[in-house]
């Protein structure tokens, strides 16, 4: 059953991605000021959104773990966090490529880029913490506590860094940014397959985590 859902989701994500790529590359025109490279935004922005959806899922799973003490929630939390980190990395790397071409620099201490980097480091700490704890039950508990701290910190990080500086092109959504409606639409359309991909990866990672735990438990019996 789980197998079929996975294949179905992955297939759907693939189809949508192919369709979106076709529209992006062949139907949508180049952007007036930026040229062809603007298309990176169709992955840059959905990757960031997906990363935060993952971190939110990890938060919910962590709270549920602390309430129910069922290690399945811990598996959800770690899987979602890892996938979130992967999408965060996609966001950072695509942002850097774009910045190199448009601004001529790989990195700039722009507010959003910096915030994403701080969040990425925060959640990388989550994975480091897990590696340092051997007992799976203790690991799950400590990781859940850390996940809650990290998620509470995320909005504070964004606010503070926004005050600190801003150089980013006006936020595309909920901001002063101006964008062609067709392009604007594509941003959301492409979020669907990216999010689906995130779900598929999370489910795969969860399976791995549960197998791993079963192996650990068997080893304890000797």
């Amino acid at each position: 059953m789980r197998e079929k859902i996975l294949v179905g989701l992955a297939g759907l994500a693939g189809l949508l991605l192919v369709r979106n790529l076709y529209v992006m590359l062949l139907e949508l025109p180049d952007e007036a000021a930026q040229g062809a490279i603007y298309r990176i935004i169709f992955f840059h922005v959905p990757a960031a959104w997906t990363a935060f959806v993952c971190f939110f899922v990890a938060l919910v799973a962590s709270v549920l773990y602390l309430l129910r003490k069922n290690l399945r929630y811990d598996a959800v939390a770690v899987s979602a966090t890892e996938v979130g980190l992967a999408f965060g990395a996609v966001n950072l790397v695509t942002g850097m490529i774009w910045a190199r071409i448009i601004w001529g620099i790989w990195w700039t201490w722009d507010a959003r880029l910096t915030s994403m980097l701080v969040c990425w480091l925060l959640y990388a700490g989550y994975l480091m913490l897990r590696r340092a704890v051997e007992d799976p039950t203790l690991r799950a508990r400590f990781a859940a506590v850390f996940s809650i701290f990290a998620f509470v910190d995320v909005p504070i990080v964004w606010f503070s860094i926004k005050w600190w500086r801003t150089q980013h092109p006006g936020p595309v959504v909920w901001g002063g940014g101006s964008m062609d409606p067709a392009m604007y639409q594509m941003l959301f359309l492409n979020w669907v397959p990216v999010l689906l991909l995130g779900a598929v990866l999370t489910l795969l990672r969860m399976r791995l985590e549960e197998t791993q735990r079963a192996v650990e438990a068997l080893r304890q019996f000797r």
Binding site: L122, M128, L129, A132, V133, R141
Partner: protein, 226 residues
């Protein structure tokens, strides 16, 4: 009332034990002074340069020095399984946490109060001109460091590589608090008053303290007992 008494008993115990060995105090203070010295090689310590980076520099020193004190906070409970004795006693975990946070806060503040005049001399700034606003920022920023550092000291105390885990986990979390403290400290430490444009940072720092104090108090029992 009992809660406060228990927290104070824990804080007094930590400070008394620290005064006997001076382990954390000596390491932290020496470290702070060495970094202050090293920073002077990183840039030309002229009045101009100092004015721009004073706040950032000082808080980096305090954060590094703080990690040494905070690492010791719960590590102190490890020999003889003292942590078990405390958790099994009627002390509320929140009181235990606050007591230990208070002890670390006082220790770190003391280190800072030694480091500040040294900084004033090395870098030739009139740091006393805005004394009370400076103290306010010092207290708020140091509390931010200790409140998060103490809960993670409890979380990492039994882990492999404890000394490395604590800063790795804590510094990214502290980014907003440290950033606010740096912004506020920069004018104050060179004797300029706080401009109204900085009030938002003061609010952010106070809010940061409140949010993470509340969160730590809520989760400390989960960390210690689970």
């Amino acid at each position: 009332m009992r809660f406060v008494r228990q927290a104070l008993a824990i804080a007094a115990k930590d400070l008394r034990a620290e005064m006997r060995t001076k382990e954390a105090w000596n390491a932290s203070l020496a470290f702070a002074l060495v970094i202050l010295l090293l920073f002077s090689f990183a840039f030309e310590p002229t009045a101009e340069q100092t004015r721009e980076i004073a706040g950032g520099l000082l808080w980096l020193v305090f954060a590094f020095a703080g990690a040494l004190i905070l690492n010791r906070s719960f590590a102190r409970e490890l020999p003889n399984d003292c942590l078990d004795a405390l958790v099994a006693s009627p002390v509320a975990p929140a009181a235990l946490y606050l007591g230990k946070a208070l002890a670390s806060f006082l220790l770190l503040t003391a280190v800072e109060l030694v480091a500040l005049p040294v900084f004033g001399v090395f870098y030739n700034v009139r740091w006393t001109a805005q004394f009370w606003p400076l103290m306010l920022v010092l207290v708020l920023g140091t509390w931010a460091l200790t409140v998060i550092g103490t809960i993670f000291s409890a979380l990492t105390v039994n882990l492999r590589l404890r000394e490395l885990m604590l800063p790795t986990l804590v510094y990214p979390l502290l980014v907003p608090g440290l950033m606010a403290a740096m912004q506020l400290m920069t004018p104050l430490v060179v004797g300029q008053p706080l401009g109204p444009e900085l009030y938002d940072w003061l609010k952010l720092l106070a809010g940061f303290d409140i949010i993470f104090t509340a969160l730590s108090l809520a989760l400390v029992e989960t960390v210690l007992v689970g």
